[in-house]
């Protein structure tokens, strides 16, 4: 009889499982990970057992970032944000909605004609997630993480989609650049502030600044993958970040732009790029912050 061999094997598997679980013990700190998703955006914020995902990159690579940073048994994301409907921001979200259960999906109602956006709408529809459309001055709270929404502005929405329904995907279409509808938000835990900017650019930034809600922050996700059509001096001055993260991969648009890099350098902002560093993880206890090597 060698039945003991199999009982022993089973025991070893359970032991291995317990051992692997210990590696995920929560540490009571905010982990802000700019995932290396290639050319695109995908940012994951984790505090204890709550997760917020901002954009999903162009494809399934976001799943690997989620697996690496979220415990394997936690298949629930408390909040997913899509800054604006362009493939390099939503492509990976299709699989995210199929595989994870998501409580709330914050995305604006601007439609996209792409067949892949149709697939995203189907995946969202099939998952029963609550859809919320963002608007300036909205404040969201997920566990201890707060999000102050700065854009899109009420005036832009009234102008482009005067009587569109809210809290639904693909409610309206517009001739304007989808980037202008980007969700801009400050994510905060205690005294740590991170400015998340999507693909916002010079055409909308003055208006956001004029509303006076941009404050000094520790962290900025450099808008639009470091494009020339992204960060402005005014935004940098108003937010005066200590660290800037550029989410960028191989591309033919010349991202990140040399002038943007220079702007950050001159302002003394420490700049990290996902195409050079892979996943960029910043950790904060709500007071100070540091980069996880």
């Amino acid at each position: 009889m060698q039945a003991y061999k199999y009982i022993l094997g089973l025991f070893a598997l359970v032991l291995g499982l317990v051992g692997l679980s210990l590696g995920y013990a929560p540490d009571g700190q905010l982990h802000l990970v700019a995932c290396d998703v290639g050319q695109g955006d995908g940012i994951l914020a984790i505090y204890k057992d709550t997760q917020v995902l901002i954009d999903g990159g162009p494809d399934d690579r976001i799943l690997e970032c989620l697996s690496e940073h979220v415990p394997f048994w936690d298949r629930r994301l408390e909040l997913v944000i899509l800054t604006h409907p362009q493939l390099d921001h939503y492509g990976g979200l299709i699989e995210v909605f199929r595989r994870y259960s998501v409580d709330t999906f914050l995305a604006n109602g601007l439609d996209s004609g792409a067949s892949s956006y149709q697939a995203l709408k189907n995946a969202v529809g099939g998952s029963g997630v609550r859809v919320v459309t963002p608007k300036e001055d909205m404040v969201l709270r997920v566990g201890m993480i707060y999000l102050d929404i700065l854009s899109p502005s009420q005036s832009l929405l009234t102008q482009e989609a005067p009587d569109s329904r809210t809290n639904i995907l693909g409610a309206f279409s517009s001739k304007k650049d989808p980037n202008d509808f980007s969700v801009v938000a400050i994510l905060r835990l205690g005294e740590f502030d991170a400015l998340l900017t999507g693909d916002i650019g010079p055409s909308e930034i003055p208006e956001i600044l004029a509303r006076g809600k941009v404050r000094e922050v520790e962290y900025i996700k450099v808008p639009h993958h470091g494009s020339k059509n992204g960060l402005t001096h005014e935004l940098l001055d108003a937010s005066s970040p200590e660290i800037g993260v550029i989410s960028v991969g191989k591309n033919s648009y010349g991202h990140p732009n040399e002038e943007t890099l220079k702007m950050l350098r001159e302002k003394g902002v420490r700049t990290l790029r996902t195409d050079e560093e892979g996943d960029v993880e910043v950790v904060s206890d709500g007071k100070s912050w540091w980069i996880k090597p």
């Binding site: 009889m1 060698q2 039945a3 061999k5 199999y6 022993l8 094997g9 089973l10 070893a12 598997l13 359970v14 291995g16 499982l17 051992g19 692997l20 290639g38 162009p58 494809d59 399934d60 690579r61 799943l63 690997e64 989620l66 697996s67 979220v70 394997f72 048994w73 298949r75 492509g91 699989e95 199929r98 595989r99 994870y100 067949s115 892949s116 149709q118 697939a119």
Partner: protein, 352 residues
């Protein structure tokens, strides 16, 4: 008489192969209608399917699944269909419609990547959802064959099952039950051609080996291989088919010898070690040639990871099926495979 038999079989294979080989002229405009019989591969911006001997690249969405009936149009160029457009797509209907897809979906809901894809690949041969970077690591380390539905997996599962079952009963009964298990497995995996043919070859070779002499096992395997080729000639160039055949043959020939070689290994692990190494002897040269990457450490890496394959297969199948009925229980069973896939992934990343 004996030579006549073999001669006729071989001639039939040739005749069938050349009479059914599709022949297209470059630049020819084609409209192909058919059922997708090979798992589509997915890339960042498109997906690839194979139909009637040509590779077709299509837009990523709507996604095409194994078993879908599709109509596509395009221009042939070097075995590829250029500017291919999907005209229509109809999902498979039938007794097992969508079953496999639902099991894979359950893996994906329960486990993170690349664990879910690895379990799906190992247990069902569904390699469509493997992350690109991880697939590269698999080919670099010479372990990609574990996610190609092949007779190797079937043989490993069969020997593992026999090993477990002889603990409780005599060898003959164990063999019958193990074969039963293999056929239930083919049923669950959606009767996919590669797994069915692997199961056919595996069953025949194993029964012959267990019941008679090794020589008759060999003969049975070769006859089955040839008959399968007469039925579907295109398989002669199919990697899964070749791997099925060679792995089974290799286990038949070398297992007794590798068992002696691993005499120093504790009995606990000797069976798994000797089976996987035996299969490796035949399979590795083919893998070197087809995946184009030579890794001198490949046999070592394979020995390090292959022992997990039968266990992951069984946990995956049982967990997947139970999970469709009682999700919590299925998840629990799948979790047991997590340490094994973690080990597999760590080894492959280390060497990849």
């Amino acid at each position: 008489m004996k030579y006549l038999f073999w001669g006729v079989l071989i001639i039939l294979v040739f005749v069938r192969y050349f009479s059914t080989k599709p022949d297209y002229v470059d630049g020819q405009r084609l409209r192909i209608e058919g059922i997708v019989r090979q798992e589509p591969s997915r890339f960042s911006y498109h997906q690839k399917i194979s139909l009637a001997g040509v590779s077709i690249y299509l837009e990523k969405y709507p996604e095409i699944y194994y078993g879908d009936r599709v109509v596509v149009e395009g221009t042939v160029k070097k075995g590829e269909l250029e500017n291919a457009v999907l005209i229509s797509k109809e999902e498979e209907r039938g007794a097992f419609s969508g079953f496999r897809k639902r099991v894979v979906g359950f893996f994906q809901k329960s486990l993170p990547e690349p664990h879910a894809a690895l379990v799906a690949g190992i247990s069902l041969g569904a390699k469509g959802s493997l992350p690109k970077g991880f697939w590269d690591n698999l080919t670099k380390t010479g372990t990609a064959h574990v996610v190609v539905a092949s007779g190797m997996n079937v043989s490993l599962v069969a020997s593992f099952l026999i090993g477990v079952l002889v603990t409780f009963m005599n060898r003959k009964r164990a063999l019958i039950l193990a074969l039963g298990g293999i056929w239930i497995y083919t049923l669950i995996s959606g009767f996919e051609a590669p797994i069915v043919r692997a199961a056919v070859m595996g069953s025949i070779a194993f029964s012959a080996q267990e019941l008679g002499r090794v020589y008759s096992a060999w003969r049975a395997l070769v006859v089955t291989g040839l008959i399968l080729l007469i039925i579907v000639p295109a398989w002669v160039t199919d990697l899964g088919f070749i791997l099925s055949f060679v792995a089974t043959a290799s286990i038949l020939v070398f297992q007794k010898k590798t068992e002696k070689l691993f005499a120093f290994v504790p009995r606990l692990a000797r069976g798994d070690f000797s089976t996987t190494t035996a299969a490796q002897i035949g399979v590795s040269p083919i893998l070197f040639v087809t995946f184009g990457q030579f890794n001198i450490l490949s046999p070592v890496i394979n020995v390090l990871v292959l022992w997990t394959v039968p266990v992951v297969t069984i946990l995956g199948i049982v967990g997947g099926v139970v999970g469709l009925i009682v999700p919590v229980l299925g998840k629990g069973i799948l979790y047991l495979s997590y340490p094994l896939t973690s080990w597999f992934i760590a080894v492959v990343r280390l060497f990849g």
